[in-house]
Amino acid sequence: MAKIQIFGSLRDLFSGHDVVELDVSNLRQLLIKLPQLYPECAPEIAEGVSVSIDGKIINDAWFTPIRPDSEVVVLPRIVGG
């Protein structure tokens, strides 16, 4: 089970949890399962998020692997200038 870390204000969308455990093996599965289990986060996920997987910011690549011991952090969508 991958441990998804939820920080700060996002916790409100995940029933107050700071860690959510999910049986997922890639980013696509994560982005499907999160709103299924926590419907309140659906608008944020739909709007677009970045996900840090083992320290790398991933914006869209669905098939980025998530290992059971991966560090996964859901973040606002990273932009740049």
């Binding site: 910011i57 973040l75 932009v79 200038g81």
Partner: protein, 742 residues
């Protein structure tokens, strides 16, 4: 072979920039240089009010003026595609104007003069509404509301409806951390909005046929995004619009979105002619960019050993007239350089009657860094600690849990701090009225959607086709990476930036992504060429493909018939390519992931005139981790450019609004960016801690250098004049007033 051990032949050299001669001779074609036969000239009528309801627009007199071929208002725009409503509203106002300079109507005429005359003939009836432009006033419960109903559910109570978003980050328990501190400092900091200040104003030309298919030439950081946004605003299919990017005279984030482009398309559609529009500097300042203005509350605790025990920041970012997420990118990196057990940041997005803010190099990070690094510097003074040692004690490393969540991979912050400490600048004596400031800064970097094609030409030269306008020297660095991979001279490769009809989608030149992501795709394209050559030669030599290797720019047979086949270089392969099956090309399309984070450390010396409060920058040094500098001249240019823009933000640049909510300083005489004579040479040190996510170790370098300067200069000025500076820009009257305070 890892990037750390690889011996490069091309990478790392200071080779000639391919666009240099064109730019110094005037041959390069910028946005305003593009013309077409029978072209019309477009002009926009802009709101003179900060906030008003549009009661009526009478365009009849303008339409009757000889030479006017089209007049448009919002009524001429279709219902936009979902998600582009705000973009359309910002390009052309609907029933309300939301800021001084908001577009209200536009004309296309046979000359610029006639277009200007026609604009004056358009009669608009306004009902002026209450306005708010200041972030502190905008959050008050009784402030005039810019948009109703936008407040997201997580925004805390007690503010006006202008506070539309809330985010927070952090870990640990800050209250516990503050109790463990020997000194706790609380301050409120402010920064004013600045503009990206690109030399070249926005310009574009477009034509549209009766079949609604259109072509556009535009000065932009990302023509694929311009296409997508125009298609969204004009309710078109993207394939119906082909966009070509001109050379670009600066963007810095401000040219990643549309302002005039959909308006020009609408004029072209209505007139049936090609239409060109070039913004004036006044229009650029009133209606494009700028960055946020801010109010930031910061609290930091530190013990006598210099360990930061807790850090907290509450950031209010004024985002202009539409909802933005910039404040998140202040809240996340504010304390990112430090390994902290207890940290919390909160970000609140505030809308006002100002132009919609646009990205500006590391959007959101410089103000937050100013506040955080100023507080740390002041605590160092209070506790009698060396600011360099304090930063070394607290510095984040590989394996550190960052203040915004993820655990860092290896990066170069410690190496940058060590390099700064060892630099002669850090030890140089200071004179009277001078002070030295230090600051560290961070930016995320990312990759994104990228397509590259590489072609082997008939003579063995190589063409690289990519889709990102060259802002910081990417044509040179992409050519160098392809030359390195193919083992051929740099001069044998030419990289061109192609139009949206010739390549798949590309994210803009933003996010410090191009050398990393486009470079990665170019390397993989070159590898595809090598693999194709190996396969074809194996077939010709009737050997196993695994026995054909590409080394030093040639194919070699390494099997047990060694000596049977002479090596073939790229030109020899090109000569027989058709015999071997036809042209040889490689391409790579990917969502490039694996960008490495970037840290920088800046040292600034300033001198403050005690009579006038005027600050002069005496010496400035930038130290930054580039992963691997492909072309060091360009990397140094990025470091210097970012530092100069940050110095301007710290000392000179600000949007000044009058009581009427209108911008008062709409030209470069009154909005003062630093010029060469204002500054010393910006010294640079490139640190190279390779990014494992790139074959050559590249990290983006474009954004981080604007993050620390606000703080570095503020710390230097504070130490020079003996008064802590908390309000940017540090204009002479402000600094003088602070010095005269008891």
């Amino acid at each position: 072979m890892s990037a750390q051990t690889k011996q490069f032949k091309v990478i790392g050299q200071r080779l000639q920039r391919p666009d240099g001669i064109d730019k110094v001779t005037g041959r390069a074609r910028y946005g305003a240089d593009i013309d077409a036969a029978g072209m019309l000239h477009g002009k926009i009528l802009r709101s003179p009010h900060a906030h008003a309801r549009i009661l009526s627009i009478d365009t009849s007199a303008a339409e009757q003026l000889n030479g006017v071929m089209a007049v448009i208002t919002r009524a001429d725009f279709p219902t936009p595609h979902k998600g582009f409503e705000d973009v359309q509203d910002n390009c052309m106002a609907g029933d309300r104007v939301l800021y001084d300079g908001h577009a209200v109507a536009a004309v296309a005429a046979t000359s610029k003069h006639i277009a200007k005359q026609a604009i004056k003939l358009i009669k608009v009836q306004y009902q002026v509404l209450p306005h708010v432009t200041d972030v502190e006033q905008a959050i008050q419960p009784d402030a005039p509301v810019v948009h109703s109903g936008l407040v997201s559910r997580r925004v805390p109570k007690g503010f006006s409806e202008n506070v539309v978003r809330y985010s927070s980050f952090g870990h640990g328990n800050i209250e516990t951390g503050f109790k463990a501190a020997d000194a706790v400092l609380e301050r409120t900091y402010k920064t004013e909005a600045t503009h990206q200040g690109y030399i070249e104003p926005h310009a574009c030309m477009a034509s549209m046929g009766l079949d609604n298919r259109a072509d556009m030439w535009v000065c932009t950081q990302g023509h694929f995004w311009i296409r997508n946004m125009c298609a969204g605003v004009m309710a078109m299919e993207s394939a119906s619009l082909r966009v070509t990017a001109s050379e670009i005279g600066g963007g810095f984030g401000g040219k990643t979105t549309v302002f005039i482009e959909p308006v020009v398309l609408a004029l072209a559609k209505k007139s049936g002619r090609a239409v060109k529009m070039v913004m004036t500097r006044e229009e650029v300042l009133r209606a494009t960019g700028p960055t946020v203005s801010t109010m930031m509350h910061v609290k930091v605790g530190m013990n006598k050993a210099g360990r930061i025990t807790a850090a907290y920041a509450k950031l209010f970012y004024q985002a202009g007239a539409y909802k933005q997420a910039t404040v998140d990118f202040g809240a996340m990196p504010a304390f990112a350089p430090y390994a902290l057990e207890n940290v919390k940041t909160e970000g609140l997005d505030v809308i006002t009657n100002r132009p919609r803010t646009a990205s500006y190099r590391a959007p959101g990070a410089p103000p937050a860094c100013f506040a955080a690094e100023s507080a740390i510097d002041e605590l160092c003074q209070e506790l009698g600690l060396d600011p360099m040692e304090v930063r070394l004690i607290n510095a984040a490393k590989g394996g550190t849990k960052s203040s915004y969540g993820p655990t860092f991979e290896d990066h170069g912050l410690i190496q940058c701090l060590e390099a700064a400490k060892a630099h002669p600048h850090w030890q140089a004596p200071l004179e009277i009225n001078q002070g030295r400031g230090l600051a560290a800064g961070f930016w995320f970097n990312f990759g994104g959607e990228t397509c590259v094609s590489v072609f082997l030409n008939n003579d063995g030269s190589v063409t690289v086709t990519e889709g990102n306008p060259d802002i910081g020297g990417s044509r040179a660095s992409i050519s160098m990476m392809v030359a390195e991979e193919l083992g051929i001279p740099y001069e044998q490769v030419r990289t061109t930036v192609t139009d949206t009809g010739s390549l798949g989608p590309n994210e803009p030149t933003h996010g410090s992504r191009v050398t990393f992501a486009v470079g990665l795709a170019a390397i993989k394209s070159a590898r595809a060429i090598i693999d194709e050559i190996r396969a074809r030669l194996a077939r010709m030599w009737e050997v196993d493909v695994t026995d054909v290797v590409w080394q030093d720019g040639a194919a070699h047979y390494t099997g047990n018939k060694a000596g049977t086949f002479e090596p073939l270089d790229l030109r020899q392969v090109a000569d027989i390519a058709n015999n071997l099956g036809g042209p040889i090309a490689g391409h790579h399309e990917a969502n490039a992931e694996g960008a490495g984070v970037s840290f920088g450390v800046h040292i600034a010396d300033t001198e403050v005139d005690p009579e006038t409060g005027f600050t002069s920058v005496k010496r400035y040094t930038v130290i930054q981790d580039a992963g691997k500098a492909i072309q060091p001249d360009y990397v140094e240019g990025q470091l210097q450019g970012g530092a100069v823009q940050g110095i301007g933000w710290a000392l000179n640049e600000e949007y000044v609004y009058g009581e009427d909510g209108c911008l008062q300083n709409t030209g470069f005489l009154d909005y003062r960016i630093p010029v060469a004579s204002d500054l010393p040479m910006i010294d640079t040190v490139i640190v190279e801690v390779p990014n494992p996510g790139h074959p050559f170790g590249v990290r983006g370098v474009g954004e981080t250098p604007i993050v620390p300067p606000l703080a570095a200069i503020a710390n230097a000025v504070s130490r020079a004049c003996g008064k802590r500076q908390v309000d940017l820009p540090m204009s002479p009257p402000k600094v003088l007033a602070s010095m005269q305070k008891a």
